[in-house]
Amino acid sequence: MEIVTDISKIRSLSQIISPSNFKKIVREDNCYSTFYKLKKHTTISDTTTNLDIINVIYNSLLKNYKNEYVYKNILTNKLLLKKYSLKNTIALNEFNLGKSIADFVLLNGEARIYEIKTELDNLEKLDKQIVDYCQFGDKVYIVTSSKHLNKLIELYDNTTIGIIELTSRNALKTIKEATSNVASFSYETLFKTLRKQEYLELIYEYFNFVPEVSNTRIFKECLALAKKIEVSLFQKMVVNKLKSRNISNPKKIQEKSIPESLKHICYTLNFSKNEYEKLNSFLNKNSKICISHI
């Protein structure tokens, strides 16, 4: 099969490989916009399957249009699945920290935050984001392309911030190692990442009791108690709590049947076994027949 090289059309196709679109495909049986885009922008042979198409589009993105999904998917494959392991590491996608939303967070013994600045992004909000992230993460990295590299090296010289380049051959190259942010940790930012049940458990584990107050006061009372815990210990306890938010089928996501191009989608959407089956059945279908049905 063939696909277009025109950048605006690739942008349209790139929307197919996104968590929100696969949520539609797998959870809502809604493939209309997917096949509509394929019909418009690709030429498909009789034997092409949806899996073939997804891989062709993904490879085209790797080459011509490295969007945020490509970065996140490379981080998922190379760091979460290969370098660390699903046994003792979890990833958080689009994670609220202070007033910012962190693109990708890895938690094992440490909390590592990865802020993605692709060549399609600008650096406008970066300063504020970095301040928020340093209140939570042991190490904060900016993952970027050659376009922003020199600017970022200059900006974050002599700071704790690490810089990683996604090279033209799609390797992750550490340009500058990150160092510890323990001095900037904030009780409030750390505490606010937890759900109610999580902070109640944490407080109970440390103090052996939880305050008996009404539900309009419990948050403030627990936060006040948390501030009595030494901050680096508190951060470790928070990271540990968050780590229990693991995906339900860590074995499934590592299976070969799940293409590398979709690992991040599968992880983020946290598919059930049933949903993995639906995904596989979608991938194995003949695209031409699918398109003829829309």
Binding site: S214, T216, R217, F219
Partner: protein
Amino acid sequence: MYFPYLRGKQFELIALRELCALFPQKLSKISPIIEPVKASSTLKSTLAELSNRNANFNLIINPRVGDLEGQYERIIEIITSSIPAEYNNYQLVVIIDSKTERNIATLIEFLNGLTLNYNGITLIHQTEINSQTIELLNDQLNIIYNVIYFSKTSRRYYREFDANTLVSLDDYFEEQSRNADYLNQESDFSKEYRFYIQDGFVGFSDFLTIGNNYSESGFLPRAVAIHLSYLENDQIKVKHFVSDSNEDVSDIGGKFSEAINKLVIWCNANNLDTSAITVYRDLQARGHFPGLGTLKKLSIMNHIELIINNI
């Protein structure tokens, strides 16, 4: 008569159900319009409660929002499974818009084919239809109420209909995109309750403190806002009580206590009392956050109670 227009979501319906129990003697002053959006057990129990109290209501059979759009048969099934077969103190409602106008013959046929024992038809005029169509509808259907959505029809359109069927409808709630935008605000709502009879209408309708905009589900807000309807110089107004710590979505219970403290202080200073305000006072005293759905329910109940006490 007051026609509160409510979408059949959970807390809207519970508000109606609880009002039935609180004011059984005053139910003759209201005739709620319910737009069913989901075949829920709460919808069925609410219809059962209304009929149990012999309360008049209007149920939309062609909803324009929610899961039941286009599901005529399903809605009829909801009626037959929740209302006793002999109960007839309710109207079926048809929303008149351009879509309805195109299918008017099918619609008439459908309604005349029903074996239900209902009182008659309410039409909600969201767009204007021509005189021939109006004549056709009058010929074929037993029309009890013509609800005229004033801001969507022209100035004199209402004159096309019998005065003893006329109900005015408008969305008086000034909706803001963010809850924080209601901070320290009060807005005018309407004076319909005071003037509708003088103006020649048998009733008036509005979308209460919710507004005509429909959203399927809520989300965690940065600010908690409580909308309280009250009366001032023959005018229904809405005062908004909003939390102050609105930087992020954490500690919603704390945000609620900021909003409710303001509300109780203001109600005390102005000697206001409704059954919903009593509940607000109790929540504030206990420092208990009942959830966002309950806040919406209380706001609806307060609005309806205020109106039935003043018409």
